[in-house]
Amino acid sequence: MKRTEHISRQTRRIAKAVAPLSAADAKRAIVRATAYLRPELTRGGHSRFRVLGAELSLTRSDSKTAPVRRQIEVLIVDYLNRRHLRVAIEGSRVAEVRDLAGQPAYAADEIKEARGIAVRAPELAALTHAHGVFVDAFAPGQHLPGERRIGLRFLMASGDEPAAALALAEVDLIDERLLGYELTSAGRLIGQKRGKHGRVR
């Protein structure tokens, strides 16, 4: 079946707008967004932020006869100033900057960083050496605007059995510290077998 079949005249008009986002355009949008925000991201000569990524974002025009607006959405977590920002790039200009109302999805490298902070606790580090252990992220408690806390579940998969929970940890990426953790009975057992013990500060 031809892919052009059944397409409405409204959709035919937006063929250019729905074209895939190229890696070069995504990179340009990120550079443009961070350059535009640089003064806001900096405090006392320092900045600490992470670009979560860039994605295509289409939206209706204000006027019904105007074409669909093709924007590139860049999401940024500004750890230093406790902000989650959305920057919309349209063409080469910054069309919008606003604080996100809800927290964006955790990026893979944020989870990796949180895991690195969590395993500074010897008991959690011991778990990661056991076979079949993996870590899954969640959003602990209530997240107020600008917060960036990551919950980590340490789990063990074994054959066809359901994954077993070994430990629960909470990391604050703004303060870059482990807020606390708790081992389950299965987690304590594995920790003992690995012969490692420790306490979180």
Binding site: S22, T59, G102, L155
Partner: protein, 348 residues
């Protein structure tokens, strides 16, 4: 081509539809620009978040005082974003080796021909890991013009206490764009009695807000054009039928919310459930204000599908959860072009 966020076109069963997954928002599968037989029907459909209250007390999480997760876009209260899985990922608590590296690894598109007992279908499906749960997002577009928005729940039971019952309140956002109209009216149907005239009736809704399902009165809703009709005088529009498997509660307080379009990057569910894991924001912020009953509106509606899960933890669900589906339907009314052609096989 980007790993996520691009718009991918597929077609079949008389439909052309674009699908998309945003990784930045963790909000699941979206369908865009759904056209049927050359006419625009949907601007955008999504199922961006879920609210999941548990029976209490429970050891571990979900934690007091709410014992309730807010999953998907803007996760809160122990909730988790929707992470796209490879389509062949096992139905379990999948680790990151099963996460889709690009969106095309996640999405399955099927076109089934019309059969003796039903129309042809175009189905677009993807599954998402969400803590120990897996959610399957499925949109079916039929050759008779119907749309079925579905979600399935799978994965495994809460490892803290597999016996604990809970509810899944799954939220869908649908922005119909029938023939590109922005002069839509929103109406509610009720069956009051078998005595005509007046046994059945449609009522125009003049204010944005929350609505409740009522099977006893056959309640349904529709988005219809303010003026255009079929040759025989039926208003052109799409009806929304919401069968429920469970009821409302303190966390999920409605069945349908009618609002107006305010943009594609705002009011997408990210900010729901921040103050408490409930859907209060839908009624207080998204669906607030009047509706223009003369000139029409650019209508957006939200539907919450409620499903209560009493675990079969001692047998069938002890290792994994067979996928359990829930859905609602969007049905055309007043379009001659959607009539079944002579021959009885529907649009193939």
């Amino acid at each position: 081509m980007a790993a996520f966020g691009d718009y991918h076109q597929v077609s079949g069963a008389g439909w052309s539809v674009f699908w998309r997954i945003s990784k930045l928002h963790g909000s699941g599968l979206e369908v865009w620009f759904a056209d049927f037989l050359g006419r625009r029907v949907v601007w955008r459909g999504s199922q961006p978040f879920a609210i999941v209250p548990y029976h209490r007390p429970i050891v571990g999480d979900p934690q007091p005082p709410h014992y309730t997760y807010k999953d998907g876009a803007g996760p809160q209260w122990g909730g988790v974003e929707f992470t796209a899985l490879k389509k062949n990922a096992p139905n379990t608590w999948a680790d990151s080796t099963f996460f889709a590296a690009v969106d095309t690894e996640a999405v399955d598109v099927h076109v089934d021909p019309a059969g003796h007992f039903g129309p042809a279908h175009l189905t677009i499906t993807a599954k998402f890991q969400c803590g120990w749960y897996q959610y399957v997002h499925n949109w079916e577009f039929d050759s008779d013009g119907n749309i079925h928005a579905r979600v399935a729940m799978g994965g495994q039971l809460n490892p803290n206490d597999p016996s604990k019952a809970h509810a899944h309140h799954m939220y869908f956002r649908v922005d119909l764009d029938i023939d590109g109209f922005t002069r839509d009216l929103f109406e509610e149907f009720e069956h009051a009695s078998y005595n005509d005239p007046g046994g059945d009736g449609w009522k125009i809704i003049n204010v944005q807000g929350k609505h409740f399902a009522d099977p006893a009165r056959g309640r349904k809703w529709r988005v219809r054009d303010a003026a255009s009709t079929s040759q025989l005088g039926a208003f052109r529009g799409y009806e929304i039928e919401v069968p429920q498997l469970a009821g409302r509660d303190d966390y999920s307080t409605g069945d349908l919310w009618v609002a107006v379009y305010r943009g594609d990057s705002v009011q997408q569910g990210d900010d729901v459930g921040v103050a408490a894991p409930n859907d209060e924001v839908l009624a207080k912020v998204y669906a607030a204000g009047p509706l223009d009953t003369v000139n029409g509106n650019d209508v957006v509606f939200w539907v919450a599908i409620h499903a209560h899960h009493e675990p079969r933890h001692k047998a069938e669900e002890s290792t994994f959860l067979p996928y359990h589906y829930a859905e609602f339907s969007i049905t055309p009314r007043g379009f001659e072009v959607f009539r079944e052609p002579t021959g009885g096989h529907g649009h193939g």
